[in-house]
Symmetry: C2
Subunit: 305 residues, 2 copies
């Protein structure tokens, strides 16, 4: 199953040096999730050939403009393209009002429904679930209500070892083996042993997204062990005080969180417009957490199956 993340925008509050506001396009299997939607996100999706019309779920971490101002244009574009399928938007309270007001003043009656899901900025919650994927939100520490998200594959079944499988085994018996159950004879003895006939399940991958946040170790339980963690790193080291005042993080703070949360890889972004060059972001983060990547617009990070 595909599990890949495309970076659409990587900069913080003001666009600069060709870098755009935060937005990410996350594909898990047949799900196409839009994670934050700064200004120009729809244009970035065109540029990077994302299947934007296939998006059914949008996750907006908070209501600072650099994380949502591209959404209204995207909503209008879907309407003009004739969309009829529901669009689910997960966001802080208030975005529904912002959208409704702009639909009113443009005299637009959308051809599709927006289903608005209000995030809980105080406590972690399961906000989406189907047979393959769960999405949890959890609180971040920012100037206004702000949530992170964790996108996880559900536990996968054990894999049948086809080389060893008896020819006449039934479908129900296979399902039991994949679920990790032995198949028994009427007398209670083992007919088929799941440990013999199956291989361990593939890893269930997960991606944790921490958009805007001060350094806060209380998020670690929510991101622990993620294969990929995006954690903002707005500033280089030396600006801890300013980061603290503005509820943002430095490179070393992001890397420290990644290390303590024992994640697979760290992805940093949300660069302040004061920095043209980004090499030092990578240098500082890898000093603490070597498996760090820079968020670079147009690049895709694959999580192997």
């Amino acid at each position: 199953m595909t599990f890949q993340l495309k970076i659409l925008g990587s900069n913080s509050a003001t666009p600069a040096y060709g870098r755009h506001h935060t937005s990410q396009f996350l594909t898990i299997g047949n799900h196409n999730f839009l994670v934050d939607c700064g200004e120009s996100s729809q244009i970035q999706m065109q540029k990077f050939r994302c299947r934007s019309t296939k998006i059914n779920h949008v996750f907006i971490s908070h209501l600072h403009g650099d994380h949502y101002l591209g959404l209204m244009g995207f909503i209008f574009t879907l309407h003009l393209l004739g969309r009829t399928r529901d669009l689910h938007i997960f966001a802080q309270r208030g975005l529904d009002e912002i959208i409704t007001l702009q639909l009113k003043h443009s005299d637009t009656r959308l051809k599709y429904r927006i289903i608005f899901h209000t995030l809980n900025p105080e406590s972690p919650e399961l906000i989406f679930e189907d047979h393959l994927v769960t999405v949890h939100s959890f609180p971040l520490t920012h100037r206004i209500p702000c949530c992170g998200f964790r996108f996880s594959e559900k536990p996968k079944p054990r894999r049948i070892n086809k080389d060893l499988l008896p020819e006449n085994i039934g479908v129900i018996e296979i399902q039991a083996l994949k679920a990790g159950e032995d198949v028994l004879n009427p007398d209670g003895t083992i007919k088929y042993s799941f440990t013999q006939l199956t291989l361990p399940p593939r890893k269930s991958r997960s991606y944790a997204y921490c958009s805007d946040t001060a350094y806060d170790e209380s998020i670690i339980p929510h991101i622990s062990g993620a294969d990929l963690l995006y954690h903002e790193a707005t500033f280089l080291n030396g600006r801890e005080e300013w980061a603290h005042q503005t509820f943002h993080s430095t490179t070393s703070q992001a890397a420290t969180i990644a290390k303590k949360a024992n994640v697979g890889q760290l992805l940093i972004g949300h660069y302040s417009a004061r920095y043209r060059e980004l090499t030092e972001f990578l240098n500082e983060a890898t000093d603490i957490f070597p498996r760090t990547l820079l968020a670079t617009e147009g690049e895709t990070i694959e999580l192997p199956d």
Copy 2:
């Protein structure tokens, strides 16, 4: 005095083929006017090195997203850059509410004041005036309230012919000559004749902007004789019925208005996303009005002094 127009965005409802939503940067002397502000306008201004922080007046024709969705991001950026000067916004009723709501949910107290001027979508009005420039709004025919704008230099003084000017002439006498008045001797005879000592004033240039409108000859009095007319041409010929239904214009309709209004040059834009190639727009318009230009992002149109 500089009089130049930079095209920031040229496409209609959905961005396509690298073309952005409508926005124009108009420089008249020391005024930098932003005329409509579709999504990504601030990024386009960066790209094309417009002095965006020098903008004091923004003119928004109507509240369809492709004409204003870039404004909120621009407002936030000016705030982050430390602006303290007032920003005047001329727009239809409702945009003030849209801005105020988004400032509230982002918990932003701007460091500068926004002075909101509500347009009159029913009647022409003088909406801005200083010693050099006037701006008038006038109604366009669109699905929602929509205004065009005419930016005009005020009548200019006659120009002193320096080759003929007497050495001992006073400042007050020069001012009289420039105003087209003779300077008289005490006995009522002519001391200095303005027709002899001055040249005719330079032309007062004007730019008329018609963002989104169905074909409507009632706008002609408001745009008549403009040196440059921007008139939308969303569709090629053959789609008159669809243009009529959506309150837009075709190339020939834009060119016919330009011809009837006896303007200097016609600039067309607001191209539908159905058209990748634009050559036919120019061909069709020049058949009727030869002095037609295509709006092309990044290009500047100068009106010579």
